[in-house]
Each structure stands twice: as structure tokens, then as C-alpha cells.
Amino acid sequence: MAKREQSRPSLKNIRRLQLSMIIGYAVIIIAVVFIVTNLAVKKTDTALKNEVISMSSSLNVQMKLNMDSYISRMETIGTLAFGSADAYTYDATDPNNDEYGAINTEKAITEKLFSLCIMDNFCDYGIVYRNNRTVGKISNGTSSLMGDAMYEELSSMITRQRTHDGWCAGYKGDLKRIYYVKRVHDNAVLVMSFYTSELEAVFDNPETLADMDIRLVDSNYDILYSSRGEETGKHLPSAIIERVEGKTSAAVMDDRYLVSVNACVDDWYIICSIPTRIILNEKNDMQYYIYMAGFVAALLAVLLATVLSLRMIRPVKRAVAALDNKANSDQLTGILNKLAFNGRASERLDSSLSIERHALILLDLDNFKGVNDTLGHAYGDKVLAKTGSILRAEFSTDDFLGRIGGDEFCVLVNSSPSDDTDYEDFIRAKCEALCNAYRNYYSGDDRSYKISASIGVSFFPEHGSTFEALYAASDKALYSAKKGGKDNFAFYSGSESGEVSDE
């Protein structure tokens, strides 16, 4: 752990580089996927909208053709009434009429008119005279609606001067019937009417466009017929009007509505509309799935890039870790070398707050020169290695351990007591444990050479806040311990004098 901790700074740069690579790669992939997806969606969106507008326009034209055909058929049936001479020559207002003859003539005309309209769902198919006498089929509904003013009211519906006829819907606000009126002669008009609900067959639209609202409106945009029945008689919603106002044949699409309009008979308009979100519902779903697919693709690409980078970086990291380890470790003891220790310790102390506690322990082997001189360097190396083991055994992985000289070791204690033990007592116990570890340690083949250590200790922040200051304080304390007979430890007190001098 200590090693890992110590090697971390070296690998941090690699990790940082790796993270930057992954993030950069992810950003590029996501951006590319987004741009490509967006372009594809926009292109298909435009194409789809054009198709939808075209389809709506076609539907409206079809409705117009249906309506024109229906209107034309009605007018033709109306014209057939002129096939009987009585129908256009008889005048019920003529005071010279023989009453009995008139009754029989009217019956004959009535039979003729009935035979012409018999198979159609007409409400009215008859002739109304200026004196409000009627022949043919005049419904109770129309009689009730117009009462004694029937002739005048019907005459007022004639708007086309060339053919002397006209259409009317919404008479007195009653939208149950649509009227067609044609002048027969100066004192008579032909009236035909059918229920507005008959237009359901005219405006029947395919199941796939069941959400399309189909309306027949007059020049004031009052609804004469609507596929949504309850709307009939009301004014066309302003949101629809503003899209078609002034247009006689067009299709308009924006974010809210797709609206198409076509003029038909007598300033009436067929207006088809549907909210854009409904008509493009599938497109929206498709768009969602495309974006989701893009997102998933980007995610997979990023994951792949991460895996690849991890696999690529792993041997590099191993090599760097090994090099880092070599560069920072003392090969003999397995702990930090002087340069690495000084750097870590300085960095740690510089970043420590004044409320934190650290201790810098300086350990110097007593009479180590004698080991080398007496037993040889091989035994000296064993002693050093043993010292590394002792230090690792005594201190935690949070503490920094370093060999800073031939037989000089240094520990920056970063750990704290787990209980309420006084910090100095905690360090004192550590120092005693170190001294004891050497007291039972003898070197040499016959284990005749006694090894001991002297220890100097200073505390952060009391004795200094920098590594250099603490090191100087610990050195002075070490000097005191040496001076006091070695195999001992001393805490820096501030009253020490002189320099420690080892062998």
C-alpha cells in the first residue's frame, strides 16, 4: 500500500491522460453521432412532411371532388323537374285557375316530382308558389321553419344570376338541412333539401386518417358540416382560420397544425385539419428511436474506447509503475529512498492544516559502521533490510517510511491513535516499540553483535510546519538521544544544542 501510495503521483499523470482520452473520444463520438443522426432525421423529416402535406392536399381535393359531384348530382335532379311542362307552366297564383283543375294539375305535378326524387334521402323536393301553395314533397320541418314566409325565404336563397339558383345552409341557424333553390318562373321556385348528415357519406375518409377533422364552412368560416358533429354551427377555430384565411386552394403545415383548404360551391370551403403531433406521430416515434439508437451507439463506442484504452494503457502503466517504483524505492529496504521520501513528506506537510498532527521520527542505527567493518557489508545489508522490516511492521500504510542516509531512516507519521491516547504517548509507544525491536536483535553468525538504534522525534506543527524545520528539530532530538547513551529516543524540546554526529 505504501508502495502504491508512493507510486501514485507518477501514475496520476497517466490516469489523467487516460481519462482525457476517454472523455475526448466520447465527446467526439457523441458529437459525430448526434450530427449524423440529426442530419438524417432532418432530411427524412422534411421528406416526410412533404409527403404528408401532399397526402393531405390529395385528401382535400378528393373531398372537393366528392362534394362537387354530390352538388352537381343534386342540381341535375333538380333540373329534371323541368322535364314536365306542367311543372314550369302551371302557376298556382293565377286567379283564373279552375280550382278542381288546379287540384288535379297539382296532383299530377306532385306525382311527377315524387317519381324523380323517390330514391334519394331528400327532405324536400317540390315547388313553392308565391302564395305559399306547394306541390311535391315539402317536409314538415321546412314548413315549420319558414312558415308563411316560405316563398320569400326560398327566393332569397337564389344567388346565381345566370342559372337562377343557389345553395343555402344554416337557414335561421338551423343546420339540419341544406337547401338548393331554383327559380321555376316569376311566381314559383323549386326547392330541394337534404339532411346535412348526408354529407357524412361525401366526406367519409379512410380509417388511417380518422383523426383528420373535415369541415365544410361558408365564406364567414361558420361550420356547416363537421366530421366532429358537435362542432357544426360553430365558428371555425381561430387557429385554423389564421392558417387558411384568404386562401382558396392550399395546404399549410407548421408545428401545430396541418391544414388544407379548397373552395367548392357558392363560396363554401372544405377545410381538413389535424394537429401535427398526431399526423406525425409515427415520425416522432421514429425520431425518438433514431436518437435512442444514436445514443446507444455512442454509448457502445465510448465503452469500446474505454475498454480499448484500458487495455492499451495497462502495460504502459505496469512499466511506468515498475520504473516509478525503482526510482522512488530503496532496493535494499523496500521503503522510499531519500529523494522520494523528502518529496512526499514535504508535499504532505505543506498541504496539512495546523489542526492536524504529524510526527517526524529520525532513526539512526548505533555503531552501524562497526557492523560493516567487523562482520562485512553483507551483514550490514541484512541489518538495513531488517530495519526496513521493523519499520513496516510498526507503522501503518498511511505513514511515509524512508531511508535517507546510509544507516539513517525517517518516518513521517500520518496516522493517529484510534482511541483517546495522547498523541505524544502514541508516538512514544511507537519509539519504545522500535527500540525494543532492536534490543532483541543481534547480528553476526554467532549473533554476537548487538544492534541498537537512536531516535529523535519532532512534532507538527509545534516544532515546525515544513519538512526542513521538522527534520532539523528531529535531528537535534536524535543528537540528544545519542548523547544520552544511544539505544534510546528523545523528543525535541527546543533546548538541545549541537549537531548530531554519527560515526
Binding site: E99, Y100, I103, E106, K107, F114, S115, C117, I118, M119, N121, F122, C123, K137, S139, N140, G141, S143, S144, G147, K176, Y195, S197, A201, E207, T208, V307, L308, R311
Partner: protein
């Protein structure tokens, strides 16, 4: 790295497979398939409106069925029905008049045998004695919706304004005309069939003979026909009624006619507006020589019946529609008592629960149900040729083209050309 290679290769293979799978793929979109059946009826605006609404409700309940509607007011409908029947273009389900059963299905084969669809059509709502109206030669051809009769409606408010009580007898009617005509008001009016049946009631009461004998032959002789013609002309001359050619429903609404002879099912159609104005309209006793004889010479019949085409290609769907029209709660509530009190037990119960068994139409039904003198109408009595012939004969007298005797004889001879005659005693 080998594992990574395998992953990339697998992904590439999957993408290629997908590409292959999508290329040139045929797209099939199934359309909603609907069984299209047709329905025909006659009636005034309210009937047409509620029937169209009901059809939409039915289509919502049965999204696989589309109903095409064929409708108009009564005038001309009978001829249209005849054309459709003889040309075999009749609708799958149709409202029919009881008389048409004899016209088109004397042997029971002219319409669909409804017992064959009794698994779909709930017949348990109908008492056996009502189903007999729609049965010919033992075959159930049609189901009656409600019972109906011509009824005398009196705008009591107008009568009382002129110091008149509700007329019960023929004399009351003529006396009322003497008073009301001074203000240009007729105590009664009616369409041609109503006045035809009204004249028959008078003649049967006066002569003691029925129009048809028990074998369905016309039992009226020229003498009885003369009584009928004279009665009609007297009613016109003394302004009890306007000529049938001058009849307009609007005159009932505007008070020119203070009463009307009309079907039970036409009560609101005729008098809706006066009732809306707060005028009191009642279903009076059937006119007679004395109140005790009320109902003598008057006939009741099923208001309308529903039948199915013998040629229908979709009997199950047609039966579903028929069952809906007769027994469904929503249909019952939409229809109310417009056709009279429903015979269907479930439909009647729905109306009872909803408190809809009320109003002039309901009162007219009660008058009909409470009268023991009413007899079952022979379908032939509504034959349009009989009625047109009578109108023609009456006009001959009215416009001094013939005497009553001559016109009656001419009418008798005309009938004899087309109908079974019981003969002169």
C-alpha cells in the same frame, strides 16, 4: 485482444444480417375490415336525428360493422319501399308498416325469418300476442315496436278561449266548427290517411258495417261509400277540417287548426310547438255519436315494425342491429315514446326507470290502451290506392263534377277492379 476481436466481428456480422433483413422488405398494413349493412326508416326530423345518433352508438359498440342509413319523411316513402322491395334492393334492416307484410310476404317468405336469428335477437322481450302482428304463414317476419292508432288531439287552450269544451261527438265537432270558423280556425285537420280513417270510423258507426269483412274483402257498398263521401264533404263545407290538399302541419303549430287527427306516434311532431308555448293539448276520446261508443269504428295497429331483408348477406350483423334497435337501453332512451310505448319489455323498463313514460304521446297511448272498442286494423285499410281513390271521388262531389251517388258508385267500381269486394247485400 482476441476477445475484443470476436466482439467486433460479431457486431459487424449482426449489422450485416440486419441490413440483409431490411433490404427490399415488403410492408403490409392491414385495413380495418367492416361489414356494411343498411338500415331504412321513415319519420320526422326528431326520429331521424335520434336514429342517426343511435346508429353511431351501435357502430361504437360494434366497430366491425358499418351501417348505411336510408331515410326520409313519410310522404313518398311507401313508393320508395315498394321499388326497393320489388327490385330486391331493400336494406338489410328496415322499418316497415304492418300493411307491407301482406303486400310483400303473404306466405311469410318476403322477409327474413327472424326465428332463425333468435340467438342474437332477444325475442323474449315480446309477448306472443304482439309477435303475431309480424307473423305471416307461421313465419316471424317482423317485430312490432309499439302500438298505434289515429287519435283525436285537441288544443284545449284554444277551445276554452272560445268557450268550448273538449269535443266528444260528431255533433260536438260540427258545433265547435260553427264557433271557431268565425275566427278562421278549424277544430280539426289531418293528412289524407287520417281523414280517410276518420271518415271510415264515422261511416262504420253510422251504418253498423265494417269496411272489411272477416275475409279481408271490402264490405262497404256504394251506400256506405256515399256516406263517407258526404261526411267528408260536410266536414270541409262546414269548416270542421280544411281540404286534405290544403293540410299543412304548420297550421297545427300556428293555431289555425285547434285539433288534429294523427297517429299516437305523431303527437309531439304535430303539437310540440303549442306545448312549448304552454298551451294545453290533450288526447281526447275517439269521436263517436255518443261518448259511450268512443272507439267504435277505430282501429289500432303496430306503430311500426322492424324487419330484415330476406336477401341479406349479413343476417347475424343485421340481427345485432335489430336487437339494438328494439332492446338496447341507449336506443330506448334516445327513442323515448316517440313511436309510442315500446312493446319490448326491457325498453319499456328502461323508460320507466328513466321517468320517460310521460307526455302527450304517452297519454295518447294510455287512451288507446284503455279503450276496449278499438279493433285490430286490417293492413289493407292503409292501402294508398284506396285512399287516393276516395280523395278523387270526394273531390268530384266537392267541385260539383258528380253527385254523391255517382261518385260513390264510381269509387266502388274502381275498388272492385283491384280489390276483393264482399258484394252488395
Amino acid at each position: 485482444m482476441k476477445a475484443l476481436g470476436r466482439v467486433i466481428a460479431s457486431a459487424a456480422a449482426a449489422a450485416m444480417l440486419m441490413q440483409c433483413g431490411c433490404a427490399g422488405k415488403q410492408i403490409v398494413r392491414s385495413q380495418k375490415e367492416q361489414t356494411v349493412i343498411s338500415l331504412a326508416w321513415w319519420g320526422n326530423d326528431p326520429r331521424t336525428e335520434y336514429t342517426l345518433k343511435a346508429v353511431r352508438v351501435f357502430e361504437e359498440l360494434h366497430p366491425d360493422i358499418k351501417v348505411k342509413c336510408n331515410y326520409s319523411e313519410w310522404s313518398g316513402y311507401e313508393a320508395r319501399n315498394r321499388i326497393r322491395m320489388v327490385s330486391e334492393t331493400e336494406t338489410d334492416v328496415m322499418q316497415i308498416n304492418v300493411g307491407w307484410l301482406d303486400d310483400f310476404s303473404k306466405d311469410g317468405t318476403g322477409y327474413y325469418d327472424l326465428n332463425e336469428v333468435s340467438d342474437v335477437l332477444d325475442l323474449t322481450n315480446f309477448p306472443e300476442d304482439t309477435l303475431k302482428y309480424g307473423t305471416r304463414n307461421g313465419v316471424l317476419n317482423a317485430i312490432p315496436v309499439a302500438m298505434n292508432t289515429e287519435t283525436v288531439y285537441i288544443n284545449k287552450t284554444i277551445f276554452e278561449e272560445h268557450g268550448l269544451g273538449v269535443p266528444q261527438t260528431w255533433d260536438d265537432m260540427f258545433a265547435a266548427a260553427d264557433v271557431l270558423s268565425k275566427d278562421g280556425i278549424y277544430p280539426l285537420c289531418g293528412a289524407s290517411k287520417a281523414i280517410w280513417l276518420y271518415s271510415i270510423a264515422y261511416t262504420e258507426q253510422k251504418t253498423g258495417r265494417t269496411f272489411f269483412d272477416k275475409n279481408g274483402a271490402i264490405a262497404f257498398t256504394p251506400d256506405e261509400l256515399k256516406v263517407m263521401i258526404e261526411f267528408y264533404n260536410e266536414m270541409v263545407d262546414r269548416k270542421v277540417i280544411p281540404k286534405i290538399e290544403d293540410f299543412k302541419k304548420v297550421n297545427v303549430e300556428n293555431g289555425t287548426c285547434a285539433g288534429a287527427v294523427a297517429w299516437v306516434s305523431d303527437a309531439i311532431n304535430y303539437f310540440g310547438k303549442p306545448i312549448e308555448r304552454g298551451e294545453e293539448v290533450i288526447a281526447a276520446d275517439y269521436t263517436a255519436f255518443s261518448p259511450a261508443d268512443s272507439g267504435a269504428g277505430w282501429y289500432e295497429k303496430p306503430a311500426t315494425l322492424y324487419a330484415m331483408s330476406k336477401n341479406t348477406a349479413h343476417p347475424k350483423e343485421a340481427a345485432q342491429l335489430l336487437d339494438f334497435l328494439l332492446n338496447n337501453k341507449k336506443m330506448a332512451l334516445l327513442q323515448g315514446v316517440e313511436k309510442g310505448i315500446p312493446i319490448s319489455k326491457s325498453a319499456k323498463d328502461y323508460l320507466d326507470e328513466a321517468g320517460q313514460l310521460s307526455g302527450l304521446q304517452y297519454e295518447a297511448s294510455i287512451v288507446m290502451d284503455d279503450n276496449a272498442n278499438l279493433r285490430e286494423m286490417s293492413p289493407l285499410i292503409e292501402n294508398i290506392d284506396l285512399i287516393n281513390g276516395f280523395n278523387y271521388a270526394a273531390n268530384l262531389v266537392l267541385y260539383d263534377k258528380a253527385t254523391a251517388e255517382e261518385a260513390a258508385q264510381q269509387l266502388y267500381d274502381t275498388y272492385a277492379e283491384s280489390f276483393d269486394m264482399a258484394g252488395v247485400d
